[in-house]
Amino acid sequence: MLRAIYDWVDERLDITPLWRDVADHEVPEHVNPAHHFSAFIYCFGGLTFFVVVIQILSGMFLAMNYVPDIENAHRSVQYLQNEVAMGVIVRGMHHWGASVAIVMLFLHTLRVFFTGAYKHPREFNWVIGMLIFFVMLGLGFTGYLLPWDNKAYFATKVGVEIAGSVPVLGPYIATFLQGGDIVGAQTLARFYALHVFFLPAALLGLLGAHFILIRRQGISGPL
């Protein structure tokens, strides 16, 4: 029955090559933790992606209750955490997941660095990886403000002040981040938009490029 459905679709759309290309590509022995335990260091990249998926899913559920407005942001997070079924788990996954994502990304970067995997011909993929790191830090910075508690507010204020002290460009960066002259209502709306639309879009685009390049070039050989 399933086979018949698949054949019916495949005859019209020729979908087999699409997934076959992903499924059949070869994974060498030296990155396989089933053969060499120490190869778990090659899992950090996959685990980072796994945490990103957790962040996207938990973030989607958080957005069902969160209100990006200075009057209601804190209240909605409190409601979400104390009243909504499983709310504390979903927020916990997103909150701790943010830190774990940075840790995993850091470990993945160190693995690539110390195994010299960024060398010819994989220079470009390393650059894309660094941009992903930068976007992830941006996600961490913008997400920190959203609960609108004292910690969030003052950390953002200090962060914007630091960015504002950069010569020449500083005031423009500060105005761009704040959406005005102070950290306030417009800043929250702006950080929300950056956190859920702009930066995730950039992240997904960069991740796509990262994966296409690694698929095209194959993983670097054993040391």
Binding site: D14, P17, R20, V22, A23, D24, H25, E26, V27, P28, E29, H30, N32, P33, C43, G46, L47, F50, V51, I54, H74, V77, Q78, Q81, V88, G92, M93, H95, G97, A98, V100, I102, L110, F113, F114, T115, G116, Y118, K119, H120, R122, E123, W126, M130, G140, P147, W148, D149, N150, K151, Y153, F154, A155, G159, I162, S165, V166, G184, S220, L223
Partner: protein, 262 residues
């Protein structure tokens, strides 16, 4: 299109009027015998193994999530002047860098642009800075050495920032309990407290002025811990602020342990 007319007589069939060819050859999985070592296909063989690693990771992660409730502080209050701002832990090293004299004030550009800029650019362009073909970390000591020094510096800065923040928290006024009535204010304990330097920082009503408030201190600290702080100081409080006799100190400590306001 002249070539097609002459050479290729093979008829191409399509599915309906689409671009999908009707006479496609079947795709078979590759034969991995010819690959070196124990090479295997990505799906499902390898992905199942990687999923095992992910499951171990997920169990640890969910244990953390269930053990520690995500923190949510008080509603943001821009007029709060005593709140100690602290960024998320992965920004702490940058934050700490700016506390150094050579990276603050007139030289703030060193801390905001030059040091982080050089570090980030060096990282971004690492493939062009480290151009040798050698990949083993011990065979390229410059790259490995710089990275290890950077890691040590980041760890040290993060640790220093965390330590300083904790020290500041200990010395900050902190939150006032709902009940602000001093226990046994007419006793000798309060007289000793008022006679010594204590009252200058901890306040006439134990509310805390330059130092932390002492209302409810009896809930947090034992008598031994209090006398240790009196003798050795803590945070910004130096040692030897209390000038009274040991007998007076005993009365003072006993009186402080009675401050159990909530």
């Amino acid at each position: 299109m002249a070539n097609n007319q002459e050479g290729n007589h093979k008829q191409v069939h399509y599915v309906g009027d689409s671009h999908v060819r009707a006479d496609r050859s079947k795709l078979y999985p590759k034969d991995y015998d010819e690959f070196p070592g124990k090479t295997e296909p990505f799906l499902p063989n390898f992905l199942l193994k990687e999923w095992m690693v992910a499951v171990v990771f997920l169990v640890g992660f969910m244990t953390l999530v269930m053990a520690e409730e995500p923190p949510l502080g008080e509603f943001a209050d821009p007029t709060n002047t005593s709140f100690l701002p602290v960024p998320d832990w992965y920004f702490l090293f940058l934050y700490q860098l700016l506390k150094h004299k050579w990276a603050a004030g007139d030289f703030v550009v060193v801390g905001t642009m030059i040091v982080p800029g050089i570090a980030f650019m060096a990282l971004l362009f690492a493939p062009w800075l480290d151009r040798s073909k050698e990949r083993r970390p011990l065979k390229r000591p410059v790259a490995t050495g710089i990275m290890i020094i950077t890691l040590v510096a980041i760890s040290a800065l993060t640790w220093a920032a965390e330590y300083e923040h904790e020290q500041q928290l200990l010395s900050a006024p902190g939150e006032t309990p709902e009940n602000t009535e001093i226990a046994a204010k007419d006793s000798k304990g309060y007289d000793i407290y008022a006679k010594n330097a204590c009252i200058k920082c901890h306040g006439e009503n134990l509310e805390g002025t330059n130092g932390p408030g002492l209302l409810g201190v009896g809930n947090k600290l034992s008598a031994d811990e209090i006398s240790k702080i009196i003798a050795e100081g803590r945070g910004t409080m130096p040692a030897g602020m209390f000038q009274g006799s040991p007998a007076e100190e005993k009365i003072l400590v006993e009186w402080l342990t009675k401050q159990t306001q909530k």
